[in-house]
Amino acid sequence: MITLEGITKSYKMGKRDLVVLKGINLQVNKGELVAIMGASGSGKSTLLNIAGCLDRPTTGKYYFEDKEVSHLKSGELASIRGQRIGFIFQTFNLLSRITALANVELGMTYAGGVNRQRAKEALIKVGLGERMHHRPLELSGGEQQRVAIARSIVKNPSLFLADEPTGQLDSKSGEEVMSILLSLHAEQGTTLIIVTHDASVAHRCQRIVHLKDGEIVAEENV
């Protein structure tokens, strides 16, 4: 599915270079369910952003579905994001001024066109059939995260990337969100990478990659 070879990422901070990733080698196979764990500042979000074509590595090669994409133009990366990748963010990242349904449709706008019926089906699938005309601020955190999941699943992406999906949720809502993500993997064989620092979340995955100071320090199969 994806292969990272010698990925590094550094940012200019004044005169110094801040190195966030120091040569990451990682392969995730199609249909795999992988957790990336690490303390804050370990570089796990940066790694996820590169995997999601939101950011480019400083050096190294990134193969997405067997295609080297790290040097593609921004428009081509946008196409990959739009068609192939679904993001789940810790802060949900919904547009607050439009309804849940409109937010789900927004996911389709840049991925071939809006289909209202499919958008409604996606919301029903995440258990929000009754609340699709509410705006995000009228929804609980768990419900907002489920809208975000629906926004991704309408596109039928081949890769799901979740950055601390339960980080801002209470344990009950977190459990609901996790069970939706896990069922997506179980029922449709979606490739899923979850960044988390919650061990209980990580242990429900097939493989855990431990990251520390920009390097992979351990991998374990669950």
């Binding site: 999601g52 939101l54 950011d55 196409s79 547009l95 927004l106 840049y110």
Partner: protein
């Protein structure tokens, strides 16, 4: 197509969420466009009313008036000299080609009396050609004929004001008016002419020039020639205006025995030449008015740019979300550009409606004549869309260049 619909949906969301801000952004354009429409309408209306006043005489007309007199180095006003004569007019009719009518005229002022009414009226002595040269329109009866002229007939054709003043309750046709010691029979009444280049005929009593001579209302020169105030000449076609002017000038210089053309004792005014200079002046004025209004449009455009820059800054996170969902730079760019163009287009349309209404009201008040032409409307709307595209370009470009990661992190 689906993508375009999605884009328009995004634009609509952006506009409708910030109703007040969108309205204020539009307001600058609304005022600018309305100002352009109203000022251009006033300019065009004024031009047209001036031009129609002049051209009511016919563009193929020219007027000869006497020059000034000079005694002891003091010049009097043009037209005051007694240098132009009936005999000059007859010579022009005979010797100058490409003309179809020559109308010398002379006026005097006297008290006209009819029944128990009286008024001060201008009595103008004319030849039958006057009707053609001055485009006289009759409301009843006939203009004077060649027979009337040759027989010094005591007949009069009266203007509309004279008719209503002297004959408030009856039909003036066939009735008599007294002027001095003479009695005239009215054979015709002219339509109201309003003000034109040749003055108004509404207050005039028109009699044969020969009759005016009998009244003693006409001066003679030293040679015994009959002095006239004005000679109107109608050319067969406006294209002969210059040639006819030149021919008349040399003929009159010769007759008046003047060798230096700069010392001519007469002046020739061509309606054609007058029209073209009036047209030049008024179209420049209209342009000037339009330019002043365009400045307010420009200010409106800068307002649009300002608001769009703020809007991009405020929606940085939204742009990040859209990019994460697969929006290309061109999608973001198009969204903000269309939003700017939509605001200015709507503002332009509202401005056209207000400007049109304003021009209509100004026309109603009678302060100015206003004319709203389709080309001004099309221009105003397309300029306002152009302003949106121009002033929205930079903010939209700014938005499209945001890096998705940084945009997503912004609060």
């Amino acid at each position: 197509m689906k993508k375009l619909m999605g884009l328009l949906g995004s634009v609509w969301d952006g506009v409708i969420t910030h109703k007040l801000r969108s309205f204020l952004t539009m307001l600058g354009i609304v005022i600018g466009v309305a100002a352009v429409i109203i000022l251009m309408a006033v300019g065009k209306g004024t031009t047209q009313s001036v031009v129609s006043r002049i051209s009511s005489l016919g563009a193929n007309t020219l007027f000869i008036s006497p020059g000034f007199t000079q005694s002891s180095g003091v010049r009097t006003a043009f037209g005051s000299a007694s240098t132009l004569t009936l005999e000059d007019a007859e010579a022009i009719a005979v010797n100058v080609s490409n003309i179809q009518a020559v109308a010398p005229s002379s006026s005097t002022s006297l008290q006209a009396i009819a029944g128990n009414q009286n008024m001060r009226a201008t009595v103008t002595g004319v030849t039958p050609d006057y009707e053609q040269v001055y485009s006289v329109k009759m409301s009843e009866g006939n203009f004077l004929s060649a027979d009337d002229y040759n027989s010094n007939a005591r007949i009069a054709v009266i203007g509309s004001t004279v008719a209503t003043t002297l004959f408030p309750d009856s039909d003036p046709l066939g009735q008599q008016i007294r002027g001095g010691n003479y009695i005239f029979t009215i054979t015709g009444v002219m339509q109201a002419s309003g003000q034109s280049l040749a003055g108004s005929t509404d207050n005039a009593i028109i009699v044969p020039l020969t009759t005016l001579q009998l009244l003693g209302g006409q001066q003679l020169t030293k040679n015994g020639d009959h002095v006239v105030r004005t000679v109107g000449v109608e050319e067969t076609d406006t294209k002969y205006a210059t040639r006819v002017t030149n021919d008349i000038t040399s003929l009159l210089l010769d007759r008046h025995q003047i060798s230096d053309p700069t010392k001519a004792d007469f002046q020739i005014t061509s309606v054609e030449a007058l029209l073209s200079s009036v047209n030049t002046i008024t179209s420049q004025l209209t342009l000037l008015l339009g330019a002043i209004a365009a400045i307010s449009l420009l200010v409106g455009g800068i307002g649009v740019m300002n608001i769009m820059l703020v809007s991009v800054l405020e929606r940085t996170r939204e742009i990040g979300i859209r990019k994460a969902l697969g929006a290309k730079e061109s999608d973001i760019w198009a969204q903000f550009l269309i939003e700017a163009a939509f605001l200015t287009f709507t503002g332009g349309v509202i401005g056209v409606i207000l400007g049109w209404g304003g021009a209509f009201i100004i026309n109603k008040t009678g302060l100015f004549t206003t004319i709203v032409t389709p080309d001004v409307i099309i221009l105003a709307v397309s300029v306002s869309v152009g302003i949106g595209l121009f002033f929205g370009f930079y903010p939209a470009w700014n938005a499209s260049r945001l890096e998705p990661i940084k945009a997503l992190r912004s609060e």
